[in-house]
């Protein structure tokens, strides 16, 4: 009983920070939820309802794949806005002078991280919920169970990208610069590097790339997930060059890489954070 008591006392600052973060970012959560919900409604319903020529997908799984095509873009912006200031805001606004003497700084960051993760998963859950409702509306029951697998992959992807952004937040000086830098890297740099690497060596699968990992969110919905390496890419030959487009990582590789990103980025962020001075 005493051990439990001590544990509770240890966890209490994290819980308080967690609840505080939920309340502090509630407006951000509401705005993102509304925007995400509208996007889900527009992509998943409005076009199909108003335009007869706009063809529905031939199955519920394919419909979910099309609806989730924009998920990685929503996630990148969501993660950058929610996590951009997770560490650097305490230093840029100098609020660390007030907070750090009163609360263990690691517990503070853990509480903030968990609070923001909860909010972002909530936003994404709303998008998935709308898509599921529309999937049932257009295709009826039963629900394709792979949508839950996709949701699990999305949560892993959120963990990986949020850790990546947290790492940047640990050494950058301002919140705005962190958001801009991480959006640019996640949206543009990763895909550029992928193209250069694959062009120079088509056999090299870009497993380092978060952009490549994000494709697992939709590809896991395939009825027949590519079983062999050859099924996971398409080759296009043009003027003597082979342009290889890698479609998806394997499920095991995707989960492993995303977990590695989470562990490594959070580890590095905590090291940098421990040495950072106010």
């Amino acid at each position: 009983m005493e051990k439990l008591n001590n544990l509770y006392i240890e966890i209490k600052p994290i819980l308080h920070t967690y609840v505080f973060e939920l309340k502090k970012n509630s407006k951000k959560f509401i705005i993102f939820s509304i925007i995400t919900g509208l996007i889900g409604f527009l992509i998943g319903f409005l076009g199909f309802a108003l335009i007869p020529e706009d063809s529905l997908s031939s199955s519920q799984g394919a419909y979910f794949q099309d609806g989730l095509g924009i998920m990685s873009l929503i996630l990148i912006f969501g993660v950058c806005f929610f996590f951009g200031g997770i560490i650097c805001s305490e230093f840029s606004t100098k609020s660390g002078y007030i907070v750090f003497p009163k609360i263990n700084k690691y517990k503070l960051i853990i509480g903030k991280y968990l609070g923001n993760i909860t909010l972002l998963i909530g936003v994404i859950a709303i998008y998935y919920f709308i898509l599921v409702l529309l999937g049932i509306f257009f295709y009826g029951l039963p629900l394709n169970i792979r949508i839950f697998h996709s949701f699990a992959i999305t949560i892993l992807y959120i963990l990986a990208v949020s850790s990546f952004v947290t790492l940047f937040s640990s050494f950058m000086k301002s919140v705005n610069m962190t958001i801009i830098a991480t959006i640019l890297i996640l949206l543009i740099v990763f895909s550029l590097v992928d193209q250069i690497v694959v062009l120079s060596n088509p056999d090299f699968e870009p497993i380092y790339s978060l952009d490549f990992m994000s494709r697992l969110i939709t590809s896991i919905l395939e009825t027949d997930f590519p079983a062999t390496t050859a099924e996971r890419y398409i080759d296009m030959e043009m003027q003597g060059f082979i342009f290889r487009i890698w479609i998806t990582p394997t499920i095991q590789m995707g989960i492993t890489v995303m977990l590695l990103y989470t562990i490594i980025c959070l580890g590095l962020a905590s090291i940098i954070f421990s040495r950072k001075q106010l």
């Binding site: 199909f48 309802a49 108003l50 335009i51 007869p52 020529e53 706009d54 063809s55 529905l56 997908s57 031939s58 199955s59 519920q60 799984g61 509306f137 257009f138 295709y139 009826g140 039963p142 394709n144 009825t223």
Partner: protein, 194 residues
């Protein structure tokens, strides 16, 4: 004098513009220049076999023509289900050759000698055959094409074209022809008042 905050004005203006946009989008869909319009909605319908009298079927339809041949799958089992999802439709002009290719085959279609254009719609559906098990994730026919004639009089036109064709294709009987029309899935447009 009623003062309205600029924020409220923006909200009202946005809603108004959105409403005008949506009305314009929907009005272009329902406008029609004839007395028939297609009454489809996107979505899925499930069909279930609730009754099957095998003797009555054999005596009415044919001994050699089973429910499987007509509906596909296990259509002769009680409680077996089929479903189809209407994916899209659009205005379309089909040549006589295209219509006969849809009803019969390419070989028959190539024998057609008619310049007539059948006005109507092209409807695309995904179809799951009758089954007593759970539906598969993917459809048995992912894109089932069904032409819908704008003018029901075009069915008579199809029969006239068939009559011209019949001496060249003696294996086709009138019953065969009508059966093929029914098997492919007749969709009739809905009449409405001007």
């Amino acid at each position: 004098m009623l003062k309205i905050k600029s924020g409220t004005k923006m909200v009202v203006l946005s809603i108004l513009l959105l409403g005008i946009f949506l009305i314009n989008m929907s009005s272009t869909i329902v406008a029609a220049d004839n007395n028939y319009n297609i009454a489809l909605k996107k979505g899925t319908d499930v069909l279930e076999v609730t009754e099957y009298d095998e003797d009555a079927w054999k005596s009415t339809i044919s001994r050699g023509f089973s429910p499987y041949a007509w509906f596909g799958g296990s259509a002769d089992e009680i409680h077996s289900k089929s479903k189809y999802t209407t994916l899209s439709w659009f205005k379309n002009e089909s040549s006589a050759m295209e219509v006969f290719y849809w009803i019969f085959s390419l070989e028959v279609a190539l024998l057609i000698d008619s310049d007539y254009e059948y006005d109507g719609w092209a409807v695309y559906q995904a179809k799951w055959n009758f089954t007593s098990k759970a539906f598969k994730d993917d459809a048995d026919i992912e894109e089932n094409f069904i032409p819908v004639f704008l003018n029901p009089e075009d069915f008579k036109r199809v029969l006239d074209d068939y009559n011209d064709l019949a001496p060249l294709v003696p294996v086709l009987s009138a019953d065969d022809f009508l059966l093929q029309l029914i098997l492919k899935g007749l969709i009739i447009p809905k009449p409405f008042e001007d």
